[in-house]
């Protein structure tokens, strides 16, 4: 239809008032929503700082490797607990800001919201760890798998302990518990480096990889428990 014809028709005839619009809207069955849509929606509500801070790890690793800092691997190991802490804080935001009751009564439910946030921040953390491992493994001529295992252990340790503590009443009332855990684990990594404790030399590559896999399984179990009990804590 030509534009001027449309304009003339709309000028000549007033649009009828909507009749029983509310009733019609209410009768519509809710359309099915895919997991991807839920993740996309939640991604836009994850705080910018939770995306930016993990990304800031990459320039540190890149510059460290490029400038041949001798402790760049330990530095990376000391940073990863904070990625885990950011993820946990994002996951528990609903509790921190008393949004649980409202979020629980929505179509997606609080459990879905927590699951989506956990998945998004976890993926962001892991992506940064994998990229950092690739840079460091390439620079130090170490196997990528072993490098990933070394870097991911402090991350997984913080994540699993953090999720456990955040499920307790104390943890739920103290949203910065996960940061405190991250500080302790990062301090342990730095202390081991400063005291020249030869962890890596004492442990075989296979053991480090097996430890990382074991911790990954334990952290996944903790994450499932957290999601399962999410609505019980609300």
């Amino acid at each position: 239809m030509k534009d001027n014809l449309k304009t003339n028709i709309s000028k000549a005839f007033a649009a009828p008032a909507p009749q029983k619009k509310q009733e019609f809207l209410q009768k519509m069955r809710p359309a099915k929503i895919h997991t991807f849509d839920i993740l996309r929606t939640q991604a836009s509500y994850v705080r910018a700082v939770s995306w930016i801070l993990p990304m800031m790890m990459l320039p540190v690793v890149f510059i460290g490797a490029h400038q041949n800092w001798e402790n760049v691997i330990h530095l990376t190991e000391a940073i990863t607990p904070f990625l885990a802490a950011i993820g946990i804080m994002e996951t528990w935001r609903s509790y921190t800001y008393r949004m649980t009751e409202l979020e629980q009564a929505t179509r997606f439910s609080l459990r879905t919201v927590v699951y989506a946030r956990m998945l998004l921040t976890g993926c962001a953390g892991f992506a940064m760890i994998l990229l950092s491992s690739a840079i460091l493994a390439n620079h130090f001529r170490i196997s990528f798998l072993l490098m990933t295992a070394r870097i991911v252990i402090p991350y997984l340790l913080t994540m699993s302990l953090g999720l456990q503590i955040e499920r307790t009443t104390f943890g739920r009332n103290n949203p910065f518990c996960s940061v405190a855990i991250a500080v302790i684990i990062a301090a342990l990594v730095i202390w081991a480096e400063a005291a020249s404790i030869p962890f890596e030399a004492a442990l075989s590559g296979e053991f480090v990889i097996a430890l990382a896999v074991g911790l990954l399984a334990f952290t996944t179990w903790e994450a499932i428990k957290t999601i399962q009990y999410t609505e019980t804590y609300a």
């Binding site: 809207l25 209410q26 809710p30 800001y97 409202l102 629980q104 929505t106 179509r107 439910s109 609300a234």
Partner: protein, 229 residues
């Protein structure tokens, strides 16, 4: 639509918060009266799917309270709620529209319509933390009705509203209730006496009155005061 609450009980260790409560609701406003601690909030939280009953069933036209389909047609305003500090009034309503599965375009249109309805269009982009309790309550009301709910559960929605806002809110609810089941809890009789076609009264977890109320039955406030004196 028929919302059925069938012999619902909620027990916490040694305390029974809600004791074998049964009733049915249809479209229109139902006022839920009761003193503090009567079990109103516990009952409403169970009807909103937030708490699991110890025993009994809640369903709407056979759709159980635990299902996504039930939650999709639910609007809920708790007595007390928080907000993310970075949220403006508009962000808050948009966020709940997204959680209720509305597409972005529809959510945006509906948010603007509701901001106007609750008189917040001018301050829509201000952070919620800068608002008074009454304005926050208005934002809460807007998020509860953003998805055109078939079931609307309002727990003390008029607390924090000034007298003018209370009247405005009552009129808004009366309009919505023509096509929606509205359960409105309060301990202020005047909030519901002109708009509620049905009244429920709770005391110590039990339903002590259920039915319609009209002037021939006398003054509702007087009856309420006598029961809760």
């Amino acid at each position: 639509m028929n919302l059925q609450v069938d012999r619902v009980t909620k027990q916490y260790k040694n305390k029974i918060a809600v004791d074998r409560v049964s009733f049915e609701l249809t479209e229109g406003v139902t006022g839920l009266l009761g003193a503090n601690g009567a079990g109103k909030t516990t009952l409403m939280r169970m009807m909103a799917g937030i708490l699991n009953p110890t025993s009994g069933d809640i369903s709407a036209d056979g759709i159980p309270v635990t299902s996504e389909e039930y939650r999709a047609m639910l609007g809920y305003l708790p007595q007390d709620f928080g907000y993310y500090p970075e949220f403006s009034a508009r962000d808050f309503i948009m966020y709940f529209a997204a959680l209720k599965g509305m597409d972005k375009r529809h959510a945006r249109e509906k948010t603007e319509e509701l901001l106007q309805l609750v008189g917040l269009s001018d301050v829509a982009d201000k952070k919620i933390k800068t608002f008074s309790g009454g304005i926050k309550q208005r934002i809460g009301i807007a998020q509860a009705i953003v998805n055109d709910p078939k079931i609307l559960i309002l727990d003390e929605p008029t607390s924090g509203l000034d007298p003018k806002e209370r009247v405005r809110f009552r009129n808004l609810i009366a309009g919505i209730a023509q096509e929606t089941i509205v359960l409105f809890s309060t301990h202020i009789v005047s909030d519901i006496e002109h708009i509620a076609g049905n009244v429920l009264m709770m005391r110590d977890g039990r339903m002590i009155y259920e039915g319609s109320w009209n002037e021939s039955k006398g003054d509702l406030e007087e009856f309420y005061m006598k029961e809760f004196a």
